[in-house]
């Protein structure tokens, strides 16, 4: 192994193998030293292994953890190949972030869906790269990382970066810029001077002890931490009240307001999809609109898509869920406009942009859709400046408080956005 592949990493090495780097014992009092959880399962001969972080490759009592300190071996040469411009509101947020970097502290960016969060980060990333700092950009969901990766490659064409997700272990290289899922942080130790956590409120990160530990463990003692969200959790809102610095951006980059959630009643849709729904779809088909249909459960996907296919056999569509082997390909064909629609679970509620789509939610009152999930789903619509509006239609059996709250959240954000728009 290249010695630099251990800089800021914490990797698993069998005790009987010779290893480079500093060695730590993998367990202390039954607590896994990689993920800080106490969830061991026995092996023969009094050995044991950690089941909490098993998906990243097993840590057992037969292993050690190895690592080397992060030396920031970078040349500081950087070219920003992005040629776009920031709106004045984006500009203001990006200045807040430069201040945060100078002060090495924590900062939250609360920006509506489609505010252009990624672009606002460019000045910060540019300066940090110049200062030879190591930067991690992470998100709980793989789709977010997959979509972010080409945009960062385009913006910093001269900068070497790796994108880490899933069970892949082969493509790691020592790079100044690292894109990864939050799970991958379990493989880092005091590596990052700057850590940016996108979609910080989303599953599986929010409220997850193991991933919270992974974040703490992956940053250096002195560090800058940026949280990004469109829909902060209650905990984050509490932290704002206690003084966590925050930048608000209630207006989308194209200055249009968020599409509001429209409600319609639909009962017993699992038994038989009603004519009302078919009529709505035929309207989308006639106007050649592309769309997403959100359903609460994995088991709803197939029947719903089959019905749509039976109704409109000439329209290309598919369904996708979290454990779908072809998930990335399907999302890509939707992006490429090779598919006219996707039936999906909440996995596509955030982080993905399909230009010019409408969104329909079946069973929006189901427990699977939280208030923030509904706001995120609505945020898939109208993201491009040439197509800034669209339909967000939520079918419910009962109008619940949660659905009402999601509607109200969007109305309130739009109210703030309108005020901001007037002030410019």
């Amino acid at each position: 192994m290249e010695i630099e592949n251990l800089y800021g990493r914490q990797l698993v090495c069998p005790k009987i193998d010779n290893s480079l780097g500093n060695t730590r014992t993998a367990f202390q009092g039954g607590v896994c030293q990689r993920c800080n959880q106490k969830l061991v399962s026995p092996l023969p001969n009094d050995a044991f292994y950690c089941r909490a972080c098993l998906t990243l490759g097993r840590v057992s009592s037969l292993d050690n953890l190895i690592s080397l300190p992060e030396p920031n071996q970078f040349n500081g040469k950087v070219v920003l190949s992005w040629t776009g411009t920031l709106t004045s509101q984006q500009q203001k947020v990006s200045e807040d972030l430069l201040t945060t970097l100078a002060l090495q502290r924590e900062h939250l960016v609360w920006a509506v869906t489609g505010a252009g969060k990624t672009e606002m980060l460019f000045p910060l990333i540019y300066r940090a790269l110049q200062q030879k700092l190591r930067i991690g950009i992470v998100a709980p969901r793989v789709d977010v990382i997959v979509e972010l990766s080409p945009r960062l490659r385009a913006a910093f064409a001269q900068t070497d970066m790796v994108t880490l997700y899933g069970e892949q272990t082969d493509c790691y290289r020592y790079t100044q810029l690292v894109l990864a899922t939050t799970h991958q942080l379990l493989r880092f130790r005091q590596a990052f001077d700057v850590l940016i956590i996108d979609e910080v409120d989303s599953f599986p990160f929010a409220g997850n002890e193991m991933l919270t530990h992974a974040v703490k463990n992956a940053v250096k003692v002195r560090h800058t931490m940026i949280y990004l969200t469109a829909t902060p959790t209650r905990e984050l809102k509490k932290r704002i009240k206690k003084g966590l610095p925050v930048s608000y951006l209630p207006l989308r980059f194209h200055q249009h307001l968020l599409p509001e959630i429209q409600l319609a009643r639909l009962s017993n849709w699992r038994k038989k999809l009603p004519r009302k729904f078919r009529k709505q779809l035929s309207y989308l088909v006639e106007t050649n609109k592309r769309f997403l249909v959100f359903v609460p459960k994995v088991s709803d996907l197939k029947p719903v898509q089959e019905t749509i296919r039976r109704w409109f056999p000439r329209m290309h569509g598919d369904f996708v869920h979290a454990n779908d082997k072809h998930r990335q390909e399907k999302v890509q064909s939707m992006r490429n406009e090779n598919l006219q629609y996707l039936v999906t679970t909440t996995i596509l509620e955030r982080g993905v942009t399909f230009p010019g789509i409408d969104v329909i939610i079946l069973g929006a009152d189901d427990e699977m859709f939280t208030e923030n999930a509904l706001v995120q789903i609505a945020g898939r619509v109208g993201r491009k400046s040439d197509c800034p509006t669209g339909l967000v239609l939520a079918y419910v059996e009962h109008v619940t408080l949660k659905v009402k709250a999601a509607q109200r959240q969007i109305i309130q954000l739009n109210h703030l956005g309108e005020k901001l728009r007037e002030s410019i």
Binding site: P14, I16, L43, N45, E367
Partner: protein
Amino acid sequence: MNQSRKLCQLCGLPLTEDQSFLSLLGIMSTDSNNLCEDCCNQLVLINDIFCPNCGRLQATPEMCFDCIRWQNKGYPLLEHRAIYQYNDVMKTYMQQYKFNGDFLLKDLFNHDLIRLIDSIDKDIVVPIPVSHYTMQTRGFNQVSGMLNGQTLSDILSVTASKKDHQSQFGRRERMNRQQPFALSVSSQLVVGQRILLVDDVYTTGNTMYHAANLLYQAGAKTVKSISLAR
């Protein structure tokens, strides 16, 4: 989301209610109790037409080409039986249980294996061994792990101290490899015995025929073999 719900041990998706119902009625065996419907459906039982000597699922009941080759080389045939076809879902199982070392998955097919072992005449049951290196890193023998409740005779050991996985070698190289096993007990314990060899997956037959050859040389009366997958 309901956190208390049981998850499928292979794909991690929650188990449906009708499934617990099916297992309640005894329609599903207790082994598949921890698998979701999708994973269960993907398991392919080898119970119809297969090669009589290696247990491979095939269209005709005649001896397959590979087995004819073993016969031509002068090896006594094994009458190998496998329970499941080695397909994607079995690969996933082996990946998680054996290569990622999730020892908790050892019992998933325990009943299937014990049932097959019980149905075969033999004096002793011998698991294919793993190397010292594997015991020091993986921490378990994946075959013995699956055979909880069965009396085993650990009479074989691995001689070649090889770290490499078999899958790294090409087919020809695998066939040409030298005898990888040695007898770890006195051959008096083998003489006249009817031996049943057990492995996790039967791929080329190389492992089984090398082990069987050694046991015949030591005086075994008969050697048969089984595996979870083929």
